[in-house]
């Protein structure tokens, strides 16, 4: 079918940031994740954990806690402020100072009326949640040591606070402490070190569960203020606790990287006499687990090793499916690498800067499987630091390689690149139209003459680019009136069409000639993870988070026959079971029937002219085909040609000389840059 020259790139030093806090919203099935760099991400738990929304972080904003109040998300951090997020536009809504020094924890009550924060100065501050803001209400009795953890009782009348060496129960009405429970320090040398109660959980039956730096999970009675039971879980710290919604299961995350599950089961069969029993231990992390959350069917954990691990609880799953497999999310479900197709340039998006690289050149030809001699090594042309404290939200490089644009939450900057031989210089385009103040997504037209900037309320602004500068052309608005932010843009090769996809799963197609909405693709239940417009047929090819694919003819405003065939016959089981979303859709100009896709673990070329595989055919058949003769291959090949040579792929792009750029970020390389984990004695070492 064909040979490709592949530039294997491993010098993109992307480092995912460690996970600091998790908050699960059971009503919307959304998981909010806060990272060390201050970014907040929203994952859709029932849509294959697709990363729907990313709110980039800022320098110096250490988030310590996350809390949902209804569908509103709040965070608090060591900078002493409480932040509410605008999830529709994926940005910070406001931040107010709690005036209590660094905040260690934030939690909302079940009624959705109040937020409590635990501060360094020893106060628990209550905030009333209003329609559009939060309002400071009062302090509970001030304590001598910092408040490290908080948990509301379901009734909303009591609150448990974990501190240094003790746990306090407050009456919310009076603000006074009801009970004071002392946590034991460790024995031996650690006796001099104070015991930090890292996490508390207040159960509806009045039991308080605490996890502390001595490695104990303790159960307390809030009526008497006495210890019921204690479990020694680890030699290190128990950093996080989470209870399931029906309070029959509890998970604890430790700094050894283990998650320990406790279950509330009756000790004698048939009797109602239930106790918390330690049942399972999972070890999927190499480093400290800073946050755990038990969702309906799985335990989600995250920590210093920056991966989000979804460990399904098999006792709560009835059928084996893609959802019952262990899922580890290492990389964002957004593109961080952009290629200037016509000039061989790559743009790497880091949180605080951009890097522009020129690809190397090879000499001679090689047989498949071999490496070619690298005549010219890749070269770093540009290192562009972001102005201000905000991290980059999105960026793009034009296909001709002449324009670079990026946007943070507060500003958008456009640069023009001058490349004559070895001298690289950039000029910032100073007078940008006012509409270009910030963008959710950016995209250049294929002839590099226009920039499309996705803005608030799902609108797209069009700006024309020329030597003299840039000029606002117009705004494209969807008919539906959805306000969700756009996370994907795709422009057609001929400059006629533009497609946009937003978090409401809507895909709008605009006619760029008339600057009017052309049509809307029927809304599908899963999010669009990647899309592209075919250069010759002008069909929009879409990949969804549940691994489905659709091809929609823009001109005919309907799904193509091939797409209908795919839907009718269904996709192969192995294709559906892949656990990372496709992140790019490309087309091979030399062979219009080829669609090139990739996810983290594979590169796939779909040949639309070939028959689709059914569940009986061998899906990964490249090795078989390789061993067959040319004639035999025809009878054995099917539409999905999967190449698994590459691993940990961040980006695949087809550039104009028919060669592929594959940007890999090997997890081993990531692991070597992580801080050293807690040293553990291993057997026979």
């Amino acid at each position: 079918m064909g040979e490709f020259k592949v530039h294997r790139v491993r010098f993109f030093d992307y480092m995912p940031s460690g996970i600091r806090a998790l908050a699960f919203n059971g009503d919307t099935e959304r998981m909010a994740v806060a990272r060390m760099d201050g970014s907040v991400e929203i994952f859709h738990c029932s849509d294959r954990f697709f990363q729907e929304k990313i709110i980039p972080g800022r320098e110096q904003c250490g988030i310590e806690g996350l809390s949902w109040v209804g569908e509103r998300l709040f965070s608090a951090g060591l900078n002493g402020g409480i932040t509410e997020y605008d999830l529709t536009n994926q940005k910070v809504k406001y931040t107010i100072d709690a005036y209590g020094g660094p905040i260690w924890t934030i939690t909302g009550n079940q009624q959705g009326t109040h937020l409590a924060v635990g501060c360094e100065d020893g106060t628990v501050k209550l905030f009333e949640v209003n329609e559009d803001k939060i309002q400071f209400e009062r302090n509970l009795d001030r304590q001598k040591s910092r408040i490290v953890s908080l948990s509301w009782h379901t009734s909303g009348s009591k609150i448990a606070a974990g501190m240094m060496d003790m746990i306090q129960i407050f009456n919310v009405e009076t603000g006074h402490s009801i009970h004071r429970m002392l946590a034991d320090r460790g024995v031996g040398t650690s006796r001099s070190k104070e015991c930090v109660v890292w996490s508390v959980v207040y159960l509806s039956d009045g039991t308080i569960v605490s996890g502390d730096s001595v490695g104990m999970v303790k159960l307390w009675d809030d009526q008497t203020g006495t210890l019921i039971k204690s479990h020694n879980v680890t030699k290190c710290d128990v950093l996080a606790l989470s209870v399931s919604q029906n309070e029959d299961s509890l998970v604890a995350g430790t700094s050894e990287g283990t998650v320990v599950q406790f279950q509330f089961v009756s000790m004698v069969l048939g009797k109602d006499d239930k106790e918390w029993v330690r049942t399972r231990t999972f070890k999927n992390h190499t480093h400290d687990i800073r946050a755990v959350a038990e969702i309906t069917t799985a335990v989600v954990s995250g920590g210093m090793d920056a991966q989000l691990v979804v460990k399904p609880l098999l006792d709560k799953i009835e059928v084996r499916s893609a959802a019952s497999a262990l899922r580890k999310i290492h990389f964002p479900h957004r593109r961080l690498v952009f290629c200037a197709r016509n000039s061989g340039l790559m743009l790497f998006q880091y949180p605080g800067h951009l890097e522009l690289w020129r690809l190397g050149e090879s000499e001679g030809k090689g047989i498949p499987g071999s490496s070619l001699f690298v005549k010219r090594n890749p070269e770093k042309l540009l290192h562009l630091k972001v102005k201000g404290e905000d991290h980059i939200r999105c960026s793009a490089v034009s296909p001709c390689g002449e324009w670079i644009v990026y946007s943070t939450a507060s500003s958008l900057r456009l640069y023009r690149l001058h490349c004559d031989n070895n001298n690289v210089s950039i000029t910032k385009i100073s007078k940008l139209p006012k509409v270009l103040s910030s963008a959710n997504q950016l995209c250049f037209s294929s002839d590099s003459s226009h920039l499309f900037s996705a803005s608030t309320q799902s609108s797209v602004h069009i700006v024309s680019l020329s030597q003299s500068g840039c000029k606002f052309v117009g705004t494209l608005k969807p008919k539906s009136g959805s306000h969700q932010a756009i996370h994907l843009l795709a422009a057609s090769e001929d400059g006629e069409w533009l497609a946009s996809a937003n978090s409401d799963h809507e895909v709008h197609i605009y006619n760029l000639q008339t600057r009017k909405a052309h049509c809307t693709v029927p809304v599908y239940s899963s999010a669009v993870t990647a899309m592209g417009i075919h250069p010759t047929t002008n069909c929009l090819f879409m990949m969804y988070a549940d691994q489905q694919m659709c091809e929609y003819s823009i001109e005919q405003k309907q799904y193509t026959d091939w797409s209908r065939t795919v839907q009718r016959k269904g996709l192969h089981r192995l294709w559906m079971e892949r656990d990372t979303p496709c992140l790019n859709v490309m087309f091979n100009p030399q062979n219009p029937s080829h669609v090139i896709l990739h996810d983290t673990y594979m590169l796939c070329i779909i040949d639309q002219s070939l028959p689709l595989p059914d569940d009986k055919t061998q899906f990964y058949n490249q090795l078989t085909l390789k061993s067959l003769t040319e004639d035999q291959r025809k009878s054995h090949s099917h539409a999905f040609k999967v190449c698994k040579t590459f691993k940990d792929i961040l980006c695949v792009e087809l550039i104009s000389d028919q060669s592929l750029v594959v940007v890999e970020r090997p997890l081993e390389d990531v692991a070597t840059q992580l801080p050293a984990p807690i040293k553990q004695k291993k057997f026979a070492t």
């Binding site: 064909g2 040979e3 020259k5 592949v6 294997r8 490496s371 070619l372 690298v374 090949s637």
Partner: protein, 710 residues
């Protein structure tokens, strides 16, 4: 083992003028490997051709009134003889010059101590003052002044030349007011390093030296009158220039010779090879102290390897050239050929180390035994003499008393003697006992022997006759213990014992009292066979009654019926098997064992092979089943013996009809093993490919590759 062959007298030793320990001036290597140059104190220099037991001589005499100052040497480069007369006259002559007066002579400016010559290098002249000159440069200007290296009253006592890698080193020891030093003169660059001998109170000067070159070091061995033989190692090339002053000579004790009661006056030692030292003038450890012996000692194992009585007065002189020892004694100079075989023990120790840990028990005892004697450096002469006096009193009853008395006395003796002394003493007692048993047919103190063996201080070399005595007396119990304890049994003796064991009928053997552990092992082994058969029947759930009865009646029937069934009955009795197991576990070296194995008769070989095959089958079947026994032959030992037996007797076995089935079975087995290894080789190959394909992944940060999709 080392052997001293029958020697003969080369020449007489002239009348000794004084009380010095010098019988003749010297024996030096001649122009050929079998030529020696004997310099007599009485003005004659004789070249002897020593070959076999004959010798011929060419004499060269000096004129009356001339005195030979040092032994004549042969300059192999110029094919000339060199001697110094009257302290200062260097004379050089060819072989056909009989008259020395006509030969070339030159008078030098200082007194010459000695001319030293090594093969294929120029002779070196050592002066009394310590100066050193090459002969050529000296003869070019004979009157050149000599520098004084030594102080006035410092006298050179001994000197030698060592050559290796075309580099010469002169060693000489000096005495000055009771202090003894060693000088090391190296050439190119000329350096002279002075070492001081360690002195201990009561220890006089070394009486004999011997230097050899091994690797890049000079090993200097020296003997003291108290019987200690020390070794010092000097580097061949020294980095020091001698400017650092006098260095103490580090030494290690490598041998402690036993002493008699008489005060020794003279003695000499010479290094034969890495492990052997010939010593003259010291008493034989078990013979009386009154006689003088030439002994060969193994320094590694501290054992006496060979000895020969030397009549007459012993001098502090001993030479060794090309496999012959030259010993002046009484009024003659004897030539004694010797042979130091690479000891089978050394090879055996290597062999034994391979066997499993449970079997290394006897081996461990040997090592501790040697290390103990090595640590006995602090042992003083005092203890030695005390010990030897008491020994005599103990031994004195052996030649006369009854068996019971002797046994009681030996028991008492072992209990009384301190551990450190027991090592030598036990050997002496054993030798005495054996010698009496050999002469007196009614005397056989088995208990005493067992007691001595239990001390674990005996080994074959200490008392070689013990094992053959036990074989003659058919004392298999003693044999077994000896096999367990001795790790240095020569292969010939092992084979003789094997032959005796195989030829003894089983019936006679069963009455013998043997070590329980080994018998239990054999019982387990044979029972395991029947038990596994029963289990097999039960497991299968069905066992044909007729077949079962057949099996129990005649195992051979089963064989005929089912050629693939394994013949699992033990071909020898329990006790014979136990003894054979001990033989299997002895140390040996293949090359030495093979010729002796040929002594076995064909029926013996077949029985032994059948037994080995039985063992092997047992082992391969019950590999998971560990029979608890202290000493069991390992599977590799069994296989080694099978191979050796087949090697030794293959042609006979191939034609012997009764061996056909056995050989066929073994062949079948080997074929299957070869097949298995071939398959394993294939697996290894494919695993290798897997590994290399994994490795090719790494390409660094950037690469341009070609992929192909089908």
């Amino acid at each position: 083992m080392a052997t001293l062959y029958e020697g003969y007298t080369l020449c007489g030793v002239g009348p000794v003028q004084n009380s010095s320990n010098i019988g003749i001036l010297g024996v030096e290597q001649g122009g050929d490997i079998d030529h020696v140059l004997v310099t007599d104190t009485s003005r004659s220099i004789t070249v002897y051709k020593v070959k076999g037991v004959t010798s011929y001589a060419i004499n060269t005499f000096l004129k009356q009134g001339q005195i030979i100052s040092c032994p004549a040497v042969f300059n192999t480069q110029s094919q000339e003889y060199v001697v110094v007369t009257d302290d200062r006259v260097v004379r050089v002559w060819k072989e056909d010059d009989v008259n020395l007066e006509k030969a070339f002579k030159a008078t030098v400016s200082a007194d010459v101590l000695k001319v030293l010559s090594a093969t294929d290098s120029e002779p070196v002249v050592l002066f009394c003052c310590g100066a050193v000159r090459f002969l050529d440069s000296l003869l070019a200007s004979p009157q050149q002044p000599m520098e004084d290296v030594l102080t006035e009253d410092e006298i050179i006592r001994w000197s030698t030349i060592v050559k290796a890698e075309h580099q010469l080193v002169i060693l000489f020891s000096t005495e000055q007011r009771g202090e003894h030093c060693l000088y090391v003169q190296r050439f190119n660059p000329n350096t002279l390093v002075k070492h001081r001998f360690e002195t201990e109170p009561g220890l006089s000067a070394p009486i004999s030296f011997s230097a050899t070159c091994r690797g890049s070091n000079i090993h200097l061995l020296y003997l003291y009158l108290n019987g200690s033989v020390y070794e010092s190692v000097l580097p061949f090339r020294s980095s020091s220039t001698g400017a650092e002053g006098v260095q103490a000579l580090s030494r290690s004790l490598c041998l402690s010779l036993p002493l008699g009661e008489e005060k020794l006056m003279s003695g000499a030692a010479v290094v034969l090879d890495e492990a052997h030292v010939a010593v003259v003038g010291f008493p034989h450890p078990s013979a009386g102290a009154c006689k003088d012996y030439l002994c060969i000692w193994n320094t590694h194992f501290q054992t006496l390897q060979a000895s020969k009585e030397m009549a007459g007065r012993i001098y502090s002189q001993l030479w060794c050239y090309s496999g012959k020892l030259y010993v002046p004694h009484g009024k003659m100079l004897s030539v004694i050929p010797f042979d130091c075989q690479k000891s089978s023990l050394a090879a055996a120790m290597g062999k034994q180390k391979q066997t499993s840990q449970s079997e290394s028990k006897s081996c461990r005892f040997v090592t501790s035994w040697t290390s103990q004697s090595c640590t006995d450096v602090t042992q003083t002469t005092e203890i030695k003499s005390r010990m030897s006096t008491r020994n005599v009193s103990d031994l004195s009853i052996i030649p006369t008393s009854a068996v019971e008395d002797v046994q009681a006395e030996v028991g008492e003796f072992i209990r009384r003697t301190p551990q450190a002394d027991l090592q030598l003493a036990a050997g002496r007692v054993a030798l005495e006992l054996v010698s009496r048993s050999q002469t007196d047919a009614n005397f056989y103190p088995q208990c005493a022997f067992l007691l001595l063996l239990e001390t674990r201080y005996l080994c074959y070399s200490v008392c070689p006759e013990l094992l053959s005595l036990a074989m003659v007396k058919k004392d298999f119990h003693l044999c077994q213990i000896a096999f367990q304890i001795f790790s240095d049994i020569p292969e010939a003796v092992t084979c003789a014992c094997l032959k005796t064991i195989l030829s003894t009928p089983d019936l006679e053997m069963e009455t013998v009292n043997l070590d329980m552990d080994s018998v239990i092992f054999m019982k387990e082994l044979t029972q395991a066979h029947s038990r596994s058969d029963e289990e097999g029947g039960q497991l299968n759930g069905f066992c044909h009654p007729a077949l079962e009865s057949d099996v129990s009646d005649t195992p051979s029937n089963k064989l005929q019926r089912d050629p693939f069934a394994l013949d699992m009955s033990c071909p020898v009795g329990l006790h014979k098997g136990a003894l054979l197991n001990e033989v299997l576990q002895t140390a040996y070296s293949d090359r030495s064992l093979l010729p002796h194995l040929k002594d076995l008769t064909v029926p013996q070989v077949i029985v032994f092979l059948q037994y080995l095959r039985f063992l092997y089958l047992k082992y391969s079947h019950d590999a998971h089943k560990q029979i608890r026994a202290l000493r069991t032959p390992s599977i590799s030992q069994i296989i080694d013996w099978v191979c050796l037996l087949l090697d030794a007797h293959f042609t006979v076995l191939a034609v012997a009809p009764e061996a056909k089935r056995l050989v066929f079975d073994l062949h079948k087995f080997v074929r299957s093993q070869v097949k298995l290894y071939a398959e394993l080789g294939k697996i290894e190959g494919s695993l290798q490919v897997l590994k290399s394909s994994k490795q090719s992944e790494d390409f660094g940060m950037y690469a341009i590759q070609v992929i192909e999709l089908f």
